[in-house]
């Protein structure tokens, strides 16, 4: 079973992607999508050095919802900051964040989240993955920001990936 489906989630995602791209659920497309979903992960298996172990689907759903809300919220904040940049320049700063998350996939997800949310850009990660350099668009309180960051993003990712 695990030889046939080395990455079941990837197979399902490819299958759905194929159907969405073709906009039909005709038998031919279902078959082609299934072939793609089964063959592509098998062919790609030698290229992937390590497998992700994803747990707790509920935590994932909660995290995605949280990120969606944060994106909308920080979009409005950044838009306001841009429009007011003439009178009150944004207090941009680099922040060093000590990390407890070590899993490579978790860190990849974290970098995706920080970059997708406007207002924070992932800039650099120490080689031993212990410190993260983050650029923040409008920083009010460094301590509170680090606390918020670790609580809302890092902790759920640790639950999911570790």
């Amino acid at each position: 079973m695990s030889r046939l489906f080395p990455a079941p989630l990837l197979s399902v995602a490819l299958f759905v992607l194929w159907l969405l791209l073709n906009l039909s659920v005709s038998p031919g497309n279902l078959l082609l999508g299934a072939v793609l979903g089964i063959l592509a992960p098998i062919l790609m298996a030698p290229l992937r050095p390590q497998h992700a172990h994803v747990r707790r689907p509920w935590a994932i759903a909660k995290l995605i919802g949280r990120v969606g809300l944060d994106v909308i919220h920080s979009n409005l904040l950044v838009a306001r900051g841009v429009l007011r940049a003439g009178s009150t320049p944004p207090r941009s700063a680099f922040v060093h964040i000590p990390l407890d998350l070590r899993d490579a996939h978790g860190l990849a997800a974290l970098s995706m989240i920080t970059t997708v949310v406007p207002g924070t850009v992932w800039s650099e990660l120490a080689l031993d993955r212990s410190v993260l350099l983050l650029h923040v668009f409008d920083l009010e309180d460094e301590k509170a920001f680090i606390e918020h960051f670790k609580h809302t993003y890092e902790r759920p990712l640790r639950e999911i990936f570790e």
Binding site: L21, L83, P98, T115, G119, V121, S123
Partner: protein, 121 residues
């Protein structure tokens, strides 16, 4: 194209609002790109178009085509998903390139984060 289908007014209003919202956010992002003073500040506004701008336009497209064809047409949703995967990659690489170039030219940016230092606690 099917001329017989007349779109209800609420749908036109919704699609129009979403389109205008998306384009306004994209415009604010461009204004930020021009107005802000520092390169690292300028890295933030483009995220407006790639997140909420793309969401609004994709939602408008999905709504419009779903009613026009009288069946769910969801493929426009692929665009925001694709963007949320590809944009972080380029942004990350660009941030690292900017840090690298500014360090070599001696501008004031943080030192390279190394293990053990800057641990904080």
């Amino acid at each position: 194209m099917n001329e017989a289908i007349v779109l209800p007014f609420w749908l036109e209003l919704l699609v129009s609002t979403l389109l205008l919202l998306g384009s306004l956010f994209a415009l604010i992002g461009a204004i930020g790109l021009v107005r802000l003073k520092d390169f690292f500040q300028r890295m933030h506004p483009p995220a407006l178009a790639s997140t909420i701008g793309a969401w609004c336009v994709a939602a408008a497209s999905i709504l419009y085509f779903s009613v026009l064809k009288q069946s769910p047409v969801l493929h426009a949703w692929l665009i925001p998903i694709l963007l949320s995967i590809t944009v972080p990659v380029t942004t990350l690489l660009l941030a690292r390139a900017a840090l690298f170039r500014k360090r070599t030219s001696g501008e004031h940016v943080p030192e390279e984060v190394s293990s053990g230092r800057d641990r904080g606690n």
